[in-house]
């Protein structure tokens, strides 16, 4: 088992390391981490810092995908959570107080919970296909976020709120700690309890899962709620990082990045087996990729071509079939795998 998980994460890790090394070639002190003003400072820290929201969203997405679903609404949830929290803080008399910030966080998470539950009900109870069920919220949710912010950017100045996405704790960016804590919690929840097994079963064979008595509807509802909560946390991070809520742009297209992270992490979109570690690696790969674009100085008009090349390389490297084919080509004629004779088959009469 241990060897297998090791295997599963091996290739995403290789890709991540390769990307980091590529950066090192362009920026010699890329790996340098200094302490500045009592904060850790360096490119690697940035990657983790900016990658944290994506890690969170991708984490929730992994669980949804494990059940064979997909959640397109996370971007809108990010925006709604950000907007709600910032609105509450900016309208309160004492934006700097911890109480205000805690209520703001509670409001954001509470609403996200409702949104996730709505998705869950649509998918699990009413039986709408996940992509459409969540598309509804994706479209409408962005409107709701804009409605909350009145289409403007709400700027907030609140020290405790700033901590969530932009602050530091024990020299480490708080968002990294928060993301790490959520990752840890999620892996405990899925691997220390039976949740992981049951989710994989529901995603792997829903019919059989019903017949063994798994409460699939409940589980599916749960993953959409978790996904929405993760997205809301990410939304708080994103808005806190820039001290502003942007209903129009916060979390725009993050669902695509999150799904990509999940897939790069080796979880199949068909549901079933999932790997949270893989997802974290996948999210880091994507964030590193963006950073690489900035550091190498790839012009914006070729950025996408570059990304395409990297993504396809990543897939190929991860594909066992590709590796096998490449290995076979390298070992040339030596392989004895094929039957001796290879006369082309004639169509029988």
């Amino acid at each position: 088992m241990k060897r297998m998980t090791g295997h599963r994460l091996f290739w995403p890790a290789v890709v991540l390391i390769a990307l980091l090394l590529a950066n090192l070639a362009f920026t010699p002190d890329f790996f340098a981490i200094r302490v500045r003003d009592g904060h850790l400072y360096g490119s690697l820290i940035d990657i983790l810092h900016f990658g944290s929201p994506l890690i969170l969203v991708a984490l929730g997405m992994t669980l949804v995908i494990a059940t064979g679903g997909i959640d397109l609404s996370v971007g809108s949830t990010v925006a709604i959570a950000a907007a709600l929290a910032c609105l509450h803080i900016s309208e309160s008399d004492d934006p700097g107080s911890l109480g205000t910030v805690l209520t703001a966080v509670a409001i954001a998470l509470g609403v996200a919970l409702l949104l996730g539950a709505a998705n869950g009900v649509l998918v699990a109870r009413i039986g709408v296909q996940p992509i459409i069920a969540t598309l509804i919220l994706m479209v409408a949710g962005r409107g709701v976020a804009q409605l909350i912010t009145d289409g403007q950017i709400i700027t907030v100045t609140s020290e405790p709120f700033k901590l969530i996405g932009g602050g530091y704790w024990l020299t480490v960016p708080f968002s990294i700690l928060l993301a790490a804590a959520v990752v840890l919690l999620a892996s405990m929840l899925t691997r220390r309890t039976a949740l992981g097994l049951l989710l994989e079963s529901v995603g792997g064979n829903p019919v059989a899962s019903r017949l063994v008595g798994i409460r699939a509807a409940g589980l599916i509802g749960l993953v959409y709620v978790v996904s929405a909560l993760c997205a809301a946390l990410a939304g708080l991070m994103i808005s806190s990082n820039v001290s502003a809520a942007d209903g129009n742009n916060a979390g725009l297209w993050i669902e695509l990045d999150a799904i990509l992270a999940v897939v790069v992490g080796g979880t199949s979109l068909n549901g079933g087996r999932f790997s949270l570690g893989g997802t974290v690696l996948g999210a880091l790969v994507i964030q590193t990729l963006s950073t690489t674009v900035y550091t190498i100085g790839i012009p914006p008009e070729t950025t996408l071509v570059f990304k395409a090349v990297v993504v396809i390389t990543v897939c190929l490297v991860q594909s066992p079939v590709f590796r096998a084919k490449a290995a076979r080509r390298r070992s040339g004629a030596r392989h004895g795998n094929r039957p001796v004779a290879s006369k082309k088959l004639e169509v029988g009469a």
């Binding site: 079963s201 064979n205 063994v212 008595g213 094929r338």
Partner: protein, 503 residues
């Protein structure tokens, strides 16, 4: 000997990561013969067939077709080379109609377009040739696994190939269908088709096969003429030892338990599936269900488990009316249901053997009370040993197991939940004779310890061997309940089915 073989393999070797499935197997198939491939579960029969038809690439050895060494790149090439195959699990498309499943890839066409009416007409004809009366325009997944198996056979037979390979085609079939199938096979054989036949039913082998090849543990044990090898010896060569008898089982079944019934169905029915029926099962009692293909045995059982919703009647458990809203409710009341359709309704292919075994138990405990890893391992290893599941590695992915071994895992899944009522729908499907005996003994023992069992099997002998009472279904109606008092024979059940009356 006779003419040259149509198909011959020499020294075939096939390795999977960690398993050598075939190790230097030789095998010949002559035109105009029915040739049985025999062996225990996991012996390598299906793998050999898949290598023959190009599904798997072999790691050595050669395939000779009509005297020429060939490389078959896949099922498509095999088909083009005149090899038609029914693989072990039903491998058809559940979403397509029966007619399409029969003809897909070689649909009749007119002006380059698929000629639908012709296709339907011909499909109906082919289906009728096997004495099947079904609507060929309905999607395949609306039919039971047995019908699907027949459709797969129809498809393979219809191709008019030189070589016909059938991997356990009869595992879900009743005697009538088997008889029909054999008629067809004999006709084909007489036309010179070479037929490769796999089955765990010895009497079927002796009825239809001219020659047999025995595989044991991935090696070829030998090739024999059926007429020259008697049953006992065949079994001994397959399992490499003696098989202990079944006689005492039948006796144990006679003493019928008394007492209050654990479960009682009253007027339970579902429109379009089963007509209202009454059935009671006492603790320690084994009730068999008999009936023809599509008679509604599975559907009757599914109502008891809440897998389908009943729309009439009630279920009483320990005397209290219970609404079977979902399998979860049923499980909560100590009912277990092992489905006949293991691929669609049983296995979670990506999970390991261990995980598949503990799944039902874990689901019943809920996700907050996980079984510890040690407990899981302990359970898995115990049942792997008890049912002789091969390979004996609890971490193997279940989809890589042989059909029979998968079936054993599913059985284990339900046995560890220690249910009060165990519903077994074709539990011995695809299981070899050795293991079948073990399983039957196990069921008898569990019943002896007080478990109620509802036992459904297409093999009447098996039903009779285990059951105290046999419910007979016909056309979705429970027509009779027969006491297994020693006088009950398969023939009497058959005649009950035929007359449709209580006898």
């Amino acid at each position: 000997m006779r003419a040259q073989p149509v198909l011959e393999v020499r020294g075939i070797r096939k390795e999977f990561p960690g398993v050598v499935a075939l190790d230097g197997v030789d095998f010949r198939l002559f035109p105009g013969e029915v040739h049985a491939l025999m062996g225990e579960n996991g012996a390598g029969k299906s793998t050999l067939i898949k290598v023959l038809t190009g599904v798997y690439e072999s790691n050595g050895g050669e395939v000779v077709l009509a005297g020429q060494t060939v490389r078959i790149g896949g099922p498509l090439e095999a088909q083009e080379a005149g090899i038609s195959t029914v693989y072990q699990e039903v491998n058809l498309c559940p979403n397509l109609s029966v007619a399409e499943n029969i003809f897909i890839g070689r649909e009749p066409r007119r002006f380059g377009m698929i000629h639908w009416s012709e296709l339907r007409r011909r499909a109906a004809e082919s289906v009728a040739a096997l004495d099947l009366d079904i609507d060929v325009t309905a999607p395949l997944n609306s039919y039971s696994i047995a019908v699907q198996q027949l459709v797969a056979i129809v498809r393979a037979v219809d191709v008019k190939a030189k070589v016909l390979i059938l991997d356990e085609p009869t595992s879900s079939l009743d005697r009538d269908e088997v008889r029909q199938l054999f008629t067809v096979l004999r006709r084909l054989r007489d036309q010179g088709v070479a037929i490769l036949f796999v089955s765990h039913f010895l009497d079927q082998i002796y009825e239809i096969c001219d020659r047999l090849t025995i595989l044991r543990g991935g090696r070829q044990e030998g090739e024999y003429l059926t007429s020259e090898l008697h049953q006992g010896e065949l079994v001994a060569r397959m399992i490499g030892g003696e098989l202990t008898g079944l006689a005492e089982l039948a006796d144990a079944a006679r003493t019928e338990p008394t007492g209050k019934s654990f479960l009682r169905a009253e007027g339970l029915g579902r429109r379009g599936a089963v007509e209202p029926y009454d059935l009671a099962i006492r603790p320690g009692e084994v009730v068999g269900l008999a009936g023809l293909l599509g008679s509604g045995r599975t559907e009757a059982a599914r109502l008891l488990f809440g897998a389908d919703q009943s729309d009439q009647g009630t279920v009483k458990i320990d005397g209290a009316v219970t609404a079977m809203r979902s399998p979860r409710t049923a499980i909560g009341h100590g009912i277990a249901f092992c489905s006949e359709n293991r691929k669609a309704e049983g296995l979670v292919g990506e999970l390991t053997v261990r995980e598949n075994i503990v799944l039902a138990l874990q689901a019943a405990r809920g996700w907050t009370r996980p079984l510890s890893r040690a407990a899981q391992d302990e359970l898995a290893i115990r049942w792997i040993r008890a049912l002789d599941i091969r390979p004996n590695n609890p971490e193997a992915l279940i989809r890589n197991l042989s059909g029979g071994n998968q079936q054993k895992v599913l059985l284990a899944r339900w046995l560890i939940t220690d249910p009060k009522l165990l519903i077994l729908d074709e539990p011995t499907r695809g299981i070899d004779i050795g293991a079948k005996t073990e399983i039957q003994k196990l069921v008898a023992k569990l019943a002896g310890d007080g478990m109620s069992v509802l036992f459904i099997s297409a093999e009447l002998e098996e039903v009779l061997r285990l059951s105290h009472r046999v419910g007979v279904l016909r056309d979705h109606r429970l027509v009779a309940e027969l006491r297994n008092d020693g006088t009950l024979t398969p023939e009497r059940i058959m005649s009950t089915i035929a007359s449709g009356a209580t006898s």
